[in-house]
């Protein structure tokens, strides 16, 4: 029988990872909601940011949190570049083309990383990598807690940005109705560019803050994109609040299923939930049915 | 008059919008009936209910004596009611011949026979020269003709035309009217929704007027032109009633 402290510990770990997943999924769902593009390379953008952060730490002893001042603008720019060079040209193509082209970007990033770093798992050791704070029956791992706090702050900041700022409102208008937004003067191509860049930056932020406690290889992106896709669908594609709830849910499900059921079934369980949701509530657990 | 199509007490609601309420009318053999009404009156919803895209919330639809309420669209098509779409939905990557032949395959199972049949239909609507052109390369009128041919190829006893004249230039409208007349003369009944009143007034023997999802008038084109209810429904659009 599993003790209560172990369960609490697992729930805490689920909360922390779930927050990071939520941030990754929000980047993905923002891009989909606005541009209607399913970005299969999204998880590999997380991976790319992990490698950049890793290199900055190894070569310049830059702490992953400090490296954000480089990583975030860099990936905003990378997102913009990717959009202009590739994504922009397929916005009006069918979904199958979206999937294949972004799969091409995924393969590009994966093989580039493999060429540069090889396939082995790599990690860094910061001063706080193994530190934890004992609170009652549980130990709070600091690196994970930090990643969760930053992720949640970023999710909050994004939500405020989308609701309060003029640009944020333009993004939401374009997501709701592209033609309508264009008619009332929204510069739709610019909004698409910015949304894609923001989505990429969200992936990069998540990638950077998990470096202190995660190992990176060219192949870790697959795990992230699967989770992001599932979370985005659970939350209702395009919904920021839904993605947050979905991220936490998947974090908990993952933590608890590794506790009670075989860890190798974790993905299967996540997908079984996903299939059930898609069949019965295709607009997501937390989304609303469209009339 | 034996009823080919009969719609009785049909209602359909979308969320807070009552798109159709208690709609009752019929189409007889070899008859051309028009459905008119201002934008949002429920014309296209009515078509969608008749052709099985939506099941009505209440009421019955019978076709050739069979109760088809709630049937899937392809079954209704096979029983003999074929519709065109308001916004022409050509199979973008398929040729004109392929598109029409898919309709023909409904009645003729072998490809050679269906091809011959489809070519005959293309001849009838004046698209034979375009047989190998892909749907996406067609002009507006060609798309409308293709829609007509696709529906006609399924061998219907009732043809439902959704805005076949909309978006056409006046001479093209004349061509379309003549074409529909020829088809009807071949023994096919026609139910026609039309925003271009000229077309529907000239084609139809009888017209059903919809407003806010209800039948507000029914009768010959002549009797309706001066009907105050019809004029009121079209208020603001009355100029087009000429």
């Amino acid at each position: 029988m599993v003790g209560l402290d172990v369960v609490l510990q697992a729930l805490l770990s689920g909360l922390f990872m779930g927050s990071v997943y939520a941030l990754i999924a929000i980047g993905f769902t923002l891009v989909f909601g606005v541009t209607d593009i399913v970005n299969f390379a999204h998880g590999h953008l997380v991976m790319a940011a992990m490698f950049v952060t890793y290199v900055l730490f190894k070569s310049a002893k830059l702490d992953p949190y400090l490296s954000l001042v480089i990583v975030l603008p860099l990936f905003f720019g990378l997102g913009a570049l990717l959009y202009v060079l590739v994504i922009q040209r397929i916005v009006d193509a069918p979904h199958s083309a979206h999937m294949m082209v972004t799969l091409g970007v995924l393969l590009l990033l994966e093989n580039l990383a493999n060429l540069l770093f090889g396939g082995d798992l790599r990690g860094v050791t910061t001063t706080y990598t193994t530190s934890s704070l004992v609170v009652g029956p549980v130990a709070v791992p600091l690196a994970r807690a930090g990643a969760a706090v930053v992720s949640l702050l970023a999710v909050g900041a994004l939500a405020v940005f989308l609701r309060r700022t003029a640009l944020g409102k333009a993004i939401r208008a374009a997501a709701n109705n592209r033609e309508g937004a264009a008619l009332v003067g929204v510069d739709v191509p610019r909004v698409y560019l910015i949304s894609f860049s923001l989505g990429t930056m969200a992936a990069a932020l998540a990638g950077a803050v998990i470096v202190p406690f995660s190992l990176v290889s060219p192949f870790v992106g697959h795990e992230f994109i699967l989770k992001a896709f599932v979370i985005a669908v659970l939350g209702g594609l395009g919904s920021v609040g839904g993605a947050l709830a979905g991220g936490l849910l998947i974090g908990f499900v993952e933590a608890l299923s590794s506790l009670y059921i075989s860890a190798s079934l974790g993905n299967a369980i996540v997908f079984a939930i996903l299939i059930a949701v898609l069949l019965y509530r295709p607009w997501g657990i937390f989304g609303q049915a469209k009339v | 008059m034996s009823a080919l199509l009969s719609v009785r007490g049909v209602a359909k609601r979308f969320g807070g919008l009552q798109a159709l309420s208690n709609v009752t009318f019929g189409v007889g053999d070899r008859e051309i009936v028009g459905v008119i009404g201002p934008n949002g009156a429920g014309k296209t919803t009515l078509f969608n209910v008749i052709t099985g895209v939506y099941a009505p919330d209440s009421g019955r639809v019978t076709l050739r004596g069979m109760d088809v309420t709630g049937w899937a669209p392809h079954r209704i098509c096979r029983l003999g009611a074929a519709r065109t779409f308001q916004i022409g939905k050509p199979f973008a990557a398929l040729t004109v011949l392929q598109t029409v032949r898919i309709g023909s395959l409904n009645r003729i199972a072998d490809m050679a026979g269906a091809t011959t049949h489809a070519l005959g239909v293309l001849e009838q609507v004046g698209l034979a020269a375009k047989r190998d052109v892909e749907g996406r390369h067609l002009t507006v009128i060609e798309r409308k003709r293709l829609e007509l041919a696709r529906a006609l190829a399924t061998g219907p006893s009732l043809l439902l035309l959704d805005e076949v004249a909309a978006g056409l230039r006046p001479p093209e409208i004349q061509e379309m009217i003549a074409l529909v007349r020829r088809i009807a003369a071949g023994g096919v009944s026609v139910l026609i929704i039309e925003h271009v009143l000229e077309a529907v007034m000239r084609l139809s023997a009888r017209i059903v007027v919809l407003n806010y999802g209800e039948v507000i008038a029914e009768g010959s084109p002549e009797s309706l032109v001066n009907d105050p209810r019809v004029i009121e429904a079209y208020l603001g659009e009355a100029y087009s009633l000429a």
């Binding site: 399913v38 590739v86 193509a93 979904h95 199958s96 083309a97 999937m99 294949m100 082209v101 799969l103 091409g104 970007v105 393969l107 590009l108 093989n111 580039l112 493999n114 060429l115 697959h222 896709f229 599932v230 669908v233 075989s262 190798s264 079934l265 993905n267 299967a268 997908f271 079984a272 996903l274 299939i275 898609l278 069949l279 295709p282 | 052709t51 099985g52 895209v53 899937a72 669209p73 392809h74 079954r75 098509c77 779409f85 939905k89 199979f91 973008a92 990557a93 398929l94 898919i102 309709g103 395959l105 409904n106 199972a109 072998d110 490809m111 269906a114 696709r150 529906a151 190829a153 399924t154």
Partner: protein
């Protein structure tokens, strides 16, 4: 028409003669290319012709691999027969999946996601199923037993793979000229218009998935007999799915020759490079994958119909 037939027969003759001049390494590359072409053509039935963009075909591939292997190991049934049993099983699973998915009107990217999920669930189950040896996988013994689909040399595998591709091309061409194939195209282009043309779209989609699934299973059985090792990590992962998609989309979806062209280019060249005696093979292989990724993006942006459309354009010009 007869010119095309002559060209086809010439290509077939050249392919049949290839083992006479090719060494074992090159022959392996040919087999990999043919195997990829077959898989791509099988996926193409659902994705290319009927527009049902499944991302879960690894499931059917895995069923084929495990069915023929388990029937051989447990019942002594020759894989020549076992592969047909696998195809039937995969076809049934495909039909069941399609019925569920279409019953709830799951379309587009959601369809892609559900099928991907189905394959992931299957992998999770396979990893935890002791009877099929879980994640450890199953090793078949190398031997010479033609009656049981085991050969010591590569040539027989090559001819089997070639026969499979030829059969699959013929099936595709037959499909293109059949009522069912026309219905597939109608469903792909526009479901509402297809229904309005009298096409039972649910039925057409279900048949497309079932047929494509059954055909894909044969590839899984071939994989097991050729590599003599299967595990959830080799046959139930995204890799086979990726092979099918790359070949089909690069060559030209919804055509009988496009997937062959794309597969030969992508999978065949990759395998050939892997076996060339470079000083740093690893870098060359990864580098070539990098080039492929860029090619994939460029081709899909500028030639959305695939490489096969190049040939068509020049023929018209």
């Amino acid at each position: 028409m007869s010119a095309r037939l002559a060209l086809g027969l010439a290509a077939l003759a050249a392919a049949a003669a290839a083992p006479l001049v090719a060494g074992q390494h090159l022959l392996t590359a040919f087999i990999v290319a043919l195997h990829a072409a077959y898989m791509a053509l099988a996926w193409n039935v659902a994705a290319g012709y009927a527009g049902q963009f499944s991302l879960g075909h690894s499931l059917f591939y895995g069923i084929g691999a495990y069915a023929s292997t388990m029937l051989y190991l447990k019942l002594g049934l020759t894989p020549w027969a076992g592969m047909f049993a696998g195809a039937v099983l995969a076809g049934l699973v495909g039909v069941a999946l399609a019925l569920g998915v279409y019953r709830y009107n799951v379309r587009g990217i959601f369809f892609a996601l559900v099928t991907l999920g189905a394959a992931e669930v299957a992998k999770g189950l396979a990893d935890n199923w002791d009877w099929i040896k879980g994640p450890v996988g199953i090793l078949l013994t190398m031997k010479n037993a033609p009656g049981e689909f085991f050969f010591l040399r590569r040539e027989p595998y090559y001819y089997v793979a070639l026969a499979m591709v030829v059969a699959m091309i013929l099936i595709s061409l037959r499909l293109e000229r059949s009522r069912l194939g026309q219905y597939f195209l109608a469903v792909r282009e526009d479901e509402a218009a297809a229904e309005a043309s009298g096409v039972d779209t649910h039925r057409a989609k279900t048949v497309a998935i079932g047929l494509s699934a059954a055909l894909t299973a044969f590839a899984g059985s071939f994989y097991a007999q050729f590599y003599l090792y299967i595990s959830p990590d080799t046959v139930l992962v995204f890799e086979p799915q990726l092979t099918m998609m790359l070949g089909t989309m690069v060559g030209g979806a919804g055509t009988a020759l496009g997937p062959v062209l794309g597969s030969v280019l992508f999978s065949g060249l990759g395998e050939a490079l892997r076996n060339l005696p470079f000083e740093n093979t690893r870098q060359v292989v990864i580098g070539s994958k990098l080039v492929y990724a860029i090619l994939l993006i460029v081709i899909l942006i500028y030639l959305p119909g695939g490489l096969i459309t190049l040939g068509r354009r020049s023929r018209r010009a």
